[in-house]
Every structure is written in C-alpha cells, then in structure tokens.
C-alpha cells in the first residue's frame, strides 16, 4: 500500500520507503531515489559523510549514528543527537545502543521529551530500540507522545522466525496502540525456512513497516555458490537447482544465459546482475500488492511459518492508513471510533478488513446523519447480510 506522507519540513516521503546508502545508489547507477530515505550512516565518533545536492533535494535524509557497537551513555547520546541537529537532518534519530536495557531506552525518551518541549525544535523524532526489548507495549505507548516514529533495530544478516515474529509483534502492537508509524533498521533479506540450511529470499519489510534499511553487516564468507531461484525464492546451490527441474543448458530469461554459466566460479558479475534483476522484480511485486492479491502472494512465495505475522502486519497497515488516518471518520468521537475499530479488528484476513473499511467509508459519505452506533452494528453484521 503506497502512500505519500508530508513530513514536518514539507518534504514528501513515499511510504513504504526503502532506505538507501551511498553504496546502494552507486551500485544502482543512480544519483537518488525519488521520495525514498537516504541512510547516511556514521559511527558516533565519526563525522557524517557529505550529502550530494541531488540527494538533499529529492530524498529524506536520515543521518544515522550507528551506535550498535557502543555501550549506552547519555553523553554519547547527546553528542550524536546534537550532531544531527547541527546538520539540519530531516529526522532526528535516537539510535539503538549495544545491549541497551529498558532504563537506557527511557533515558533516550527523556531526552526526546526535552527536545519536544523546546519551542524552537520542529523536527520529527525517531526513537530506536532493539526488537529484543522486553518493554511492555502499553509502557512504550504511554511514552510515545515524546517521539514521532518508532524504529525497531533488527541487526541480523540472516533472519529466523523467532526474531522475525518479535519484530512484527513490536511493530503491530505499537501501531495498534498509538496510530504512529514504524521503521525497521538493519533487516535481513534472507530467512531460514524448514531448517537452517533452507534459505528463503524474503525482502518483506515494506509489508511490515513504513521505512526500512537493509542490514549493513556481512554474514561471513560463503563457501558454496548459491543463487536465489526465481520460481520459489529459495537460495540454492547448483545441485539443488538441477534437482528443482533445471538443466545445465536451461536458459534463464532474466539474463539470457544458462544455469551452468550462472554457477561458474568466474561468473561473479553475471550472478551480481542476476541478483539485481531478481531483487528489483521481487521488491516491485511486493510494493504493488493489494488486499486482493496479498494473501495469494505471501502464501505462494514465502515459507508458511512467516505468513501469520505478515497477515497481522498488513492488516495493521490497512487499519492505520485507511481507517485511523481517514478524515471521513474524523467527525466521530474517540470512544465511538474505538468501538468501530474493535469491530473492524474482528475480521481476520486483510481482504475482509479492506472491504469492511471501504463499506463503512461509503456509508459515512452517503448517510451524513449516521451514528457511530449504527456503524458499529453494520460493521458487526458485515459479511453476514442476506
């Protein structure tokens, strides 16, 4: 679900937005990506790299102080925040620190509050925490008036179901309680499937968050050449490709070269190109999913274990963007809207949620005098009418 969000300084964010580094843009052969986020990373004791005029003009700039290897201290926190303010960053991020605990997170929130209370400060604040944090959702929600976005730090080159479901749970509960948006940082593109050796290509974070940055830390040197098969998005070695029905002489339409060519040791450039075409195709497919096509896609392409969290995260996106942020429902009071939201949440699958919200939207626009009680009644009966 694509949406254009205007941030405080007037710049437009094309959500869900991927975050691109300078290296990403160079690899892509472009100067900028319109409406996306520029992820300008630096260690806390380093200066942020210069940003080109193209980027400044066309992208949202996130000067990200990478404190993932630094133990928390208020002094370092204040220093990295001040640096971002000096540079006139579009967002001000309070980053994740190595092994930070909930007390450290609350110290970050205290500094957020100080900034928010400063009359001259108008930037949007991003509070970052690890997906491992045990802070109860309600407690985080109670503190959320001090920041504008939550960022969940994943920090893994390769993902698994337990960590993935924790990330999604944090994102979904925060959105449900606050109606605010979330970023996910340092996320993997590949996840384990049935077992650790079963590797699935699943760049799905645009289905979870409003902005995301790929993990920048390497996953270690690979011993065996593996390439993602476009048919099932599994990362396989040569033998597994042949076991999947390919022949060595099968021509792959993506590159017009054979499978055997792709796996030759010296074909590093060819494999790199193949990966670029595949990644662009999959990311584009994912970004164009609609409530009508969503479930078929995720059940068809991703390992089944991940589909449940993805259903919940997409549902939450629909509720946030089509219901909570919909001005059509703005005339009703908060308590009434909470009841209506409850009725909407009773629908399990995203398509039902989408259709119900559309139905309610049309109803409110057609029947100006309709009460919230009537809407709740109609919502509860939706799908059961004769």
């Amino acid at each position: 679900m694509k949406k254009i969000i205007k941030i405080n300084n007037g710049k437009k964010l094309h959500s869900p937005a991927r975050m691109y580094t300078k290296k990403d843009l160079e690899e892509m052969g472009v100067d900028y990506v319109e409406g996306a986020i520029y992820f300008n990373r630096a260690k806390p004791d380093q200066s942020f790299p210069e940003i080109s005029e193209f980027v400044r003009k066309n992208m949202i700039v996130l000067n990200y102080p990478d404190c993932s290897a630094t133990v928390f201290s208020e002094e370092v926190l204040k220093k990295v925040v001040d640096k971002q303010i000096e540079l006139n960053s579009d967002f001000i991020v309070f980053p994740y620190f190595k092994k930070e605990n909930d007390f450290d997170v609350k110290s970050k929130v205290d500094l957020c509050e100080e900034l928010k209370l400063n009359r001259n400060f108008s930037k949007e604040i991003v509070l970052e925490m690890s997906y491992k944090s045990e802070m109860p959702p309600q407690e985080l929600s109670d503190l959320s008036h001090n920041f504008d976005y939550l960022s969940v730090f994943y920090g893994a080159p390769f993902g698994g179901y337990p960590s993935f479901s924790k990330v999604v749970k944090r994102v979904v509960t925060f959105k449900a309680l606050t109606g605010k948006r979330v970023f996910t940082i340092a996320v993997p593109f590949k996840f384990s499937g049935e077992h650790n050796k079963d590797c699935r290509f699943m760049p799905c974070f645009s289905l979870v968050a409003e902005g995301w940055a790929k993990n920048w830390k390497g996953g270690g040197k690979k011993q065996v050449i593996k390439v993602v098969d476009p048919q099932d998005l599994k990362s396989k070695d040569y033998t597994s490709w042949l076991e999947s029905g390919y022949k060595p002489e099968t021509i792959l339409n993506l590159t017009n070269r054979t499978v055997a060519d792709l796996f030759r040791k010296e074909s590093k450039i060819l494999r790199g190109e193949f990966e670029k075409y595949l990644t662009d195709g999959v990311l584009n497919e994912i970004s164009n999913l609609t409530p009508l096509t969503y479930e078929d896609y995720i059940y068809g392409k991703f390992y089944e274990q991940y589909t449940v969290p993805l259903i919940f995260s997409y549902k939450e996106k629909l509720i946030l963007e089509l219901f909570k942020e919909n001005p059509v429902f703005g005339k009703f009071d908060k308590s009434g809207l909470k009841l209506l939201e409850g009725a909407i949440r009773r629908k399990y699958n995203p398509l039902s949620v989408f259709k119900l919200i559309q139905f309610l939207d049309n109803l409110v626009q057609r029947e100006e005098q309709i009460t919230i009680q009537e809407l709740v009644k109609r919502a509860n009966n939706f799908g059961f009418e004769n």
Binding site: R18, V30, D31, V33, N253, Y277, D280, T293
Partner: protein, 105 residues
C-alpha cells in the same frame, strides 16, 4: 497491479463492459505470455513503459522507480527487440489501465 478481473470487480458492472472485460482478459493473457518469455515483471513493466513514453531516460526512470539502472536497461533493450505486434499488445494493455484509472478519477 490489479488484474483485469480485479479492475472489473471494482468498476460498475454493466452488459456493455462485460464485452470489454472479455477483451481485456484475452489481452491480459497474451501480455502475460510475452512477459513470461522475457522475464518481465508486469508491475515494473507498466511504469517503465509509461515513463519511457513520457520521454524519461533509463537513469531517470531508475531514479523514479527505485530500481537498478541495469534493470531498466534490460527492460528497454528487451522492449525494443519485441515484435511490433507484441509491443503494441503491451502498450494497449498498459494504456487501457491508465484510461480506466483516469475515468475512475
């Protein structure tokens, strides 16, 4: 991108546009075959074609869509190599969708 059926479901159904639906389904099927043969992703092909028709070059298209420049080069190279009849089918398919969306708005 919505398929012909999805767009039909969302539109107002009348007898006259039933005929259009059947035409669109047939065109969609033919376009799917062309895309499969060329490893085109239809969701990417549509904006590539539209931005090309509006005069943007490969780099500008890549910057608008957030994809690698080599991907756009692959698409434009492959589009130029298509038979004229195949290219026309893709163009008609994409423009049909644009017209439907313009009418809706």
């Amino acid at each position: 991108m919505d398929s012909a059926i999805e767009r039909f479901i969302k539109s107002n159904v009348t007898l006259s546009n039933m005929g259009k639906l059947i035409q669109n389904l047939q065109l969609e099927k033919e376009v799917e075959e062309i895309c499969k043969a060329n490893a085109f992703n239809i969701d990417l092909l549509r904006p590539v074609l539209l931005t090309m028709m509006r005069g943007y070059n490969n780099k500008e298209v890549a910057q608008k869509l957030g994809v690698h420049r080599v991907t756009i080069q692959r698409y434009t190279h492959a589009l130029k190599k298509l038979k004229e009849s195949e290219f026309e089918k893709i163009k008609n398919y994409v423009l049909n969708i644009e017209n439907e969306e313009d009418n809706k708005n």
